[in-house]
Subunit: 254 residues, 2 copies
Amino acid sequence: MSGTERMIAPNLRKQHDRCADCAIRHRAVCSYCGPQELSLLDAIKFYRNYEPGQEIVAAGERTDFLGSVVDGVVSLSKTMPDGRRQMVGLMFASDFVGRPMRPIAPYDAIAVTPVRLCLFNRTRFERLLRDTPVLEKRLLEMTLDELDAARDWMLLLGRKSAREKIATFLAILARRAASAHNTHADDGFAFDLPLTREQMADYLGLTIETVSRQITALKKDGVVEFADARRCLVPDFVVLLDAAGEDADGGMID
Amino acid sequence: MSGTERMIAPNLRKQHDRCADCAIRHRAVCSYCGPQELSLLDAIKFYRNYEPGQEIVAAGERTDFLGSVVDGVVSLSKTMPDGRRQMVGLMFASDFVGRPMRPIAPYDAIAVTPVRLCLFNRTRFERLLRDTPVLEKRLLEMTLDELDAARDWMLLLGRKSAREKIATFLAILARRAASAHNTHADDGFAFDLPLTREQMADYLGLTIETVSRQITALKKDGVVEFADARRCLVPDFVVLLDAAGEDADGGMID
DNA sequence: GGATTCGCTTGATCTGCGTCAATGAGAACC
DNA sequence: GGTTCTCATTGACGCAGATCAAGCGAATCC
């Protein structure tokens, strides 16, 4: 909600000629855009920063902006009347937050880490969308990908054991970290857990205690190592995938 | 996969001047289409029928067609290597099956009831999509709605009790039945369960036995009545919503 | 330095749901 | 009519994960 506008970091400026979030452009909404559409997007964009724990939008609230995650992690979650909470999505850099033609947010969006968003005014963005089929097409593709991810998560929530849930989540983070660093990491690599145990529990449909216990168990079994509670090292990715209940073939790091 | 082409039913013909699935048009892909786009869609469409239990596509398989459900219920499900299965979606009349620009199906699609699909050749449909922004826009909206539904289901799978899961599912079917018959049904109404207990279990992340037991419990508590195993009657929708763990306000039949 | 807080871990116990097994009720077939 | 098959129900039992409770290290604050 409230966030401070900040100058574009010089090191991001250097990499591309247009806008700061172009560092993530190949996966973002604008990835099919030509110079003309990009300049139109540029004209209406602005940036906003959020602190960890800060609410970006609340469920049921009207949102007048939407845009891309430039940096940090955003959680989407639903809460039942009695307080039970389920995280329904985690958004990383280049992911699109907010839904065109749907001004009412159906879930809470909260900054998990320090977050920087590249935002567009809703009505302007929707107008641009009408005139820019290539942008709409990209948005459709991203939404389809999110739908796939959501359905994968349904399998996890409905059918996987606590151990498998944890292992799956760690495998996803490991894969992300590997592709971000262009590491093939045949002999193990490390990454930071952006979430607290409580946030993991909300994401995985478990309690804090179960999360903690299962992580301990995975450590004891040598599947993962932890430098501290937030720093994870995976010695053998295939072993982790196996613990996640997935066939190793389908889940290789590419 | 294998299905028989059939003539368009005369009674559907009568209602509209274009195509049989126009009976469901106001909610389907083509709902924003003008006469010109409709005739283009008409030119490339064909129909296919499936028997209950029949596989429409298997996970990992290439699909050369996509389209709308005209009649019947289709399940989308994922299966783990060891056989655990989770249904990730139920498609009813007017829902769109198959994903443009994604020729490999990520899950099994199976006919739950007798199903009739209105299909389009993939490449032709995608070409049409490129030239018809209004169609693309509609598809984006439908995908956003599906994403919402998937995320609602994540809350159910991750945080709801067996009793709440059953009640939620029955409430969804009850609401569907009510809107289909234009019933407000302040004093109860009945509907048919399209799924077997096993399919319900796969949808809700439970076992057959638990589904059966919880239905028995809901009957004993007077929340629902069953004429037989497949025919359900809801005396008071608000009571059912309460059992589903939802606030009655948000879930009223409109 | 002491007190408080926060995030995490660990232990003890409880319970909701899964597992295993038996039975019943229709429907289809010989 | 009897057999077989499928689908649903019910009971007995066990276990994975929730709940309740305590303790621990590291910040933060006074």
